[in-house]
Symmetry: C2
Subunit: 379 residues, 2 copies
């Protein structure tokens, strides 16, 4: 793929907000320090931020869980020599990826190591950990290092033109998300290089593929002048990063339309908005602090007389956990009230429950009524 | 949505290979027979095909599991009155959906029933069964009745123009799958109305999103003149139907690129190609008999010296089950040999394992070598 390589080198500088040249430079610098120490006969050391809930804080002004600064050190010794070598090899693979504009899934990176002789990984969890270390070391997200997740997810329709580029010609490609009919634009695994043009007023992120399909089928984005994004449950990294970059760059509010249950609130909405504890070193890139909750609330269940299901035990546990331990919920009285009310009602309601009043009640009544007053959305 | 309705009525006639007028007519006819019986003071009856493995046969010429003809009857009595009424209500909802060109997920249909008074469903499994009954009654697939699954899945890139239409203007929309850069066209939940234009030589259906992304990123479809489809594991109904309709209409071979393990063979490839037992009444629409196995074979593991993992217990059970009970495997000696060999090797290999020889070995070596001789693909 010589042509690809060439184009890659020429244009990859635009990669993300830290260009490939910058990433490549960071790697060279870090490796240079290590090389110097070794040549001087000293033991080289690498410092990684500690990735755990204990090393995390939530400040509403920042808008996501952030690392407090605890670090662990890896010094080259007889005991650490293999991991040390693997980390350097992984940095080298990353440098190659960003320079030729290629990508590797974590699984592919694991298999690539099978040719690293003694530095090869035995199992994938080992190589995953080293990739996470390198990610944290440079304080960039894995995608900027050329490492991408296995999974794809996130569909887009509506008032948005995505700017990608043709790999062979290097020319920009304008992808008009109003022109996919009943289909949609599927978000790629890495979104760092994408540009955006839009006249939309907001982004509507939707929990279920079924509800997304309904809104797409009826061209709802035209009526509401918005961008529809299907998350298909808990959004993938690529989907979260796409929403974040789009919302930041175009200064768009993000409204999240999910079920009224602890899963929709905590696992989907909360993760999208402020991130999660065990991945605190990347929340900076993947959370969407501007997100607001347009989803079904406990009040909506009463107001719209929605059909419900009883809360399951796991729902009750999840809500109680959130009330007790979640710094985000603890910060927002409105969420404490909503979850407490849901627990006392003992029920949950799905976004599809609106269909009781007609399949398109959601389009004709629910969404217009809610959107009339976004200030009332839960935070 | 008056505009939508109007357009829907005008153009929905083109829906699938049985137009909406035809579906609507079938429903009216069936309901007419019942009405006549009732007016004549007789007990009306509906006959449904029995949907179980015992009522299924596999004939290679037909190419998919098909129903043998066993039927169950539902006669209107005191005991069946509720289900009978629900079935008629569901037929009526379907008629409405196809006439106004709308869709309902199974879950939405369940919630719509909450306004059917005594005929409302208590739990969704009940309404799902009635939808399955109606589907089998008319021997069409659910999507043609306007009922669509919750889940979305299946991405497309490469030499294909999908023809959809704009719901508001009724005008055709040409969706050019060569123009989505690193992204892709996401297959809608219902594909019955789509048209196709292509000069491609084959369809390559790929198990993992990661491998799909690699082939897309490197414009592999250009080099190989093909259409790339990401299944993301076991393909959804929409994805299977999309491949089937495209392959039929454009007379394209379908090559399936999956892992070398019993899951890739049985759950993904076999299901895509001939369907499954418990959904025999719809295999006619969803299976892809022209599919051939380009995925990693036990011979490939040896030939390409691929890194492997030991077979898990569930793999061994799955392979033995297939050898013992699967009519498809029993029909094909080549598959019996392959699965027996895999069991004796005691290992499995993933499609990403090719990365041992370089990230793009799959593009530069594996795929060209395999494609040089499709007659050697496993059946």
């Amino acid at each position: 793929m010589a042509a690809g390589k060439k184009t890659g080198k020429k244009t990859a500088v635009k990669r993300g907000h830290k260009g490939s040249r910058k990433i490549s430079g960071l790697i060279v610098d870090e490796a240079g320090v290590i090389e110097k120490k070794i040549l001087a006969g000293k033991k080289p050391t690498m410092k990684f931020p500690i990735r755990s809930l204990g090393n995390v804080r939530y400040r509403p002004k920042v808008g996501y869980f952030e690392l407090k600064g605890g670090k662990k050190e890896r010094t080259l010794t007889v005991g650490t020599v293999k991991t040390f070598a693997q980390t350097l090899r992984m940095m080298s693979l990353s440098k190659e990826l960003v320079e030729v504009d290629d990508i590797a899934t974590k699984r592919e990176a694991y298999y690539v190591s099978k040719n690293w002789g003694q530095a090869r990984f035995k199992e994938q969890p080992e190589s995953d950990t080293v990739i996470d270390d390198v990610e944290a070391l440079f304080m960039v997200n894995r995608e900027q290092l050329g490492f991408v997740p296995e999974e794809k997810g996130g569909d887009v329709a509506g008032r948005l033109v995505v700017i990608d580029r043709d790999r062979d010609s290097g020319k920009p490609l304008r992808i008009d998300c109003t022109r996919f009919g009943s289909g949609a634009y599927s978000i790629p695994i890495s979104v760092e290089d994408l540009g955006f043009e839009t006249g939309a007023k907001f982004i509507l992120a939707i929990e279920t593929a079924g509800m997304f399909q309904r809104l797409v089928k009826h061209n709802y984005w035209k009526k509401a002048n918005c961008i529809l994004i299907s998350m298909g449950g808990v959004p993938t990294r690529a989907c979260r990063r796409f929403i974040r970059r789009l919302a930041d760059e175009k200064k768009l509010p993000v409204y999240v339309f999910v079920d009224c249950d602890p899963y929709g609130v905590s696992n989907i909405y909360r993760t999208l908005k402020v991130g999660s504890g065990n991945a605190a070193h990347i929340n900076e890139f993947f959370c969407v602090p501007q997100a607001r909750f347009l989803g079904i609330t406990p009040n909506d269940i009463e107001h719209y007389k929605l059909p419900t299901h009883p809360l399951k035990e796991v729902d009750i546990k999840r809500a109680n956990d959130a009330l007790k331990n979640d710094p985000f919920v603890q910060h927002h009285k409105a969420w404490q009230r909503a979850l407490t009310k849901l627990l006392s009602m003992g029920v949950r309601a799905e976004q599809q429950a609106l269909a009781k009043w007609g399949l398109n009640y959601v389009i004709d009544t629910y969404l217009p009524e809610k959107l009339a007053d976004p200030d009332k959305f839960l935070p």
